[in-house]
Symmetry: C2
Subunit: 330 residues, 2 copies
């Protein structure tokens, strides 16, 4: 990598002010040298999101990309992969895109709320066992020996590194997350939304609501996306990306039916709706985390080829990263 | 800014594996399209830290800088300031340093643990009122009208933006944070540690323990730093930085006495110990957050001048960012 940047920084979107009253003061030792009394009563800013951005010195002619992580993850999803390769953030910058990376409400640098009575549920964490089967690394019963599906592209020997970047989630913040994402989109004249899983569903939602600002939306195995859209104002291009092994583990057959229903509804409302079936496009073996999979560069290249059909876009990685020849599966 | 990068990415340090057993399964709706049963029993990686790094294409001759945030904050402390100026991360890159930014255990992209029985206390959040007085923006009773100390350099009209980047903290994770920071330092042949507040205390601790790898340690108003050090193996250079208004609000007189005791102990153990008293050095008006203060560039320049006494270092920002002439105070 050798990359010229014109700018980098961060900003926040969304958030609201709440006040706390009537709570008891707490005695705290913040370090060996700093004991204090903490009065929780007062004013707080909650439910804001964090966005980190990078603008390359030499831009392509396409709008900036806003990357939206999935559930239980943060913006670090798009960085160095669990096995230490450059992630899509780097590749998109090399391709000349300005890239904005959100940590949505409750995740990562956005922070979360521990205020009494605000989010009335316990956060949820994902075990390695759950990641193994939910992210389609392998059959549930082969977790113990870490034997993945044949041809698996996720570097399963680095499962611990994935686990270390997983963070707790709540289920009650969807509306706040969509509000923050909507505000982020409102900062652009035109933007390309790329969302993964929960973030893919939210990206489709926001793309339909803010269709004048969104050039295209890429939803990688989304869930929670609407399945009906108002016709009228032109919709941006929608590209849904699906990986491999979708028939092997729950809940993927049902979720696949849902995202295909989203595609049909998008087309019915007059939008261009496109499915990138990775195995069908010569890229077998992808898990639910294609941005971390070994062939992630090739997956991103396939996405950009579909997106940029009408636009010139310069190649962004060397020949070595081209789609691998299909390996034997299962 | 126009910056050439040779590399950027992220990695994790620290962490351990724990298992959960005997907990009930929970019904969850992860989005409108994805209801599932969540089984919390299984294996987790907890107490890892996240580090994001940037390597400029043209490096100076000094070791990389590792930035360690304070309590209730994350690595975003070093980015764009609450009023939208480039932060120390950018300035250090412009000055030719490789920069590594930690989100330590429990903070930001490091994630936190919500596992039953692991961290047996509620996390703590900081209200705007507490920030106002604890960070020495102004007298406690002037929070309501947001009237700061005269000459205050923190952009108090952007207090909400600071609040939005504040995150909950626990008090039980100091050892895990020091372990992660120690592992991070172990990745370098030589490193300069710059720590703020709680992170400053931890940086001093780790610098003394890993003195062969640490070229210098800068502790900005640290707390929790040791006040005795083993003599013997040469200590790195220690620079403690203190701002203004230290006599005005609690608990600063006591904390100042502590960091001065740390300096004395460092010198007694044979190390070079240096105090940068910002008002005394012609930089009045700094809060507890000099990296976000309006004169932050000048503060960083003063730090680098002290650090680089013996080393050539190229100027890293234009004349406009030089120390402002002293303003009238209080």
């Amino acid at each position: 990598m050798a990359l010229g940047l014109a700018a980098m920084g961060s900003y926040r979107v969304g958030g609201r002010t709440v006040t706390v009253a009537g709570e008891p003061v707490r005695e705290l030792a913040l370090s060996s040298g700093f004991a204090t009394r903490s009065d929780p009563n007062g004013t707080y800013v909650v439910e804001a999101a964090y966005v980190q951005y990078f603008e390359p010195a030499v831009r392509n002619r396409l709008p900036p990309v806003l990357l939206v992580h999935g559930g239980g993850l943060t913006g670090s999803s798009w960085e160095t992969t669990p096995d230490g390769r450059p992630g899509w953030l780097n590749r998109l910058l090399e391709a000349g895109f300005a890239v904005h990376v959100i940590d949505n409400v409750e995740r990562g640098r956005a922070g979360f709320s521990a205020l009494p009575g605000l989010w009335n549920e316990a956060p949820v964490m994902r075990s390695l066992e759950e990641m193994w089967s939910l992210f389609r690394f392998g059959p549930r019963q082969r977790y113990a020996r870490r034997r993945p599906f044949g041809g698996q592209q996720f570097p399963v020997e680095h499962l611990d590194a994935l686990a270390a970047r997983s963070v707790p989630r709540w289920t009650c913040n969807t509306q706040a997350q969509i509000a923050a994402l909507t505000e982020a989109v409102g900062r652009f004249d035109q933007v390309i939304l790329v969302g993964h899983s929960q973030g893919g569903g939210q990206a489709v939602h926001v793309a339909a609501a803010c269709r004048q600002r969104v050039r295209a939306v890429v939803a990688i195995e989304p869930h929670g996306a609407p399945t009906s859209f108002e016709a009228g104002l032109a919709l941006p291009r929608l590209l849904v990306v699906e990986g491999d092994f979708l028939d092997a583990n729950e809940p993927w057959p049902a979720l696949r039916a849902d995202w295909r229903a989203t595609l049909s509804a998008w087309a019915a409302a007059g939008g261009t709706a496109d499915l990138l079936d990775l195995p069908g496009a010569g890229l077998p073996g992808n898990s639910h985390l294609p941005m971390m999979d070994r062939n992630g560069d090739a997956v991103l290249a396939a996405i950009l080829r579909r997106l940029a059909q009408d636009e010139p876009i310069r190649p962004f990685f060397p020949a070595a990263a081209r789609p691998a020849t299909a390996r034997r599966r299962r």
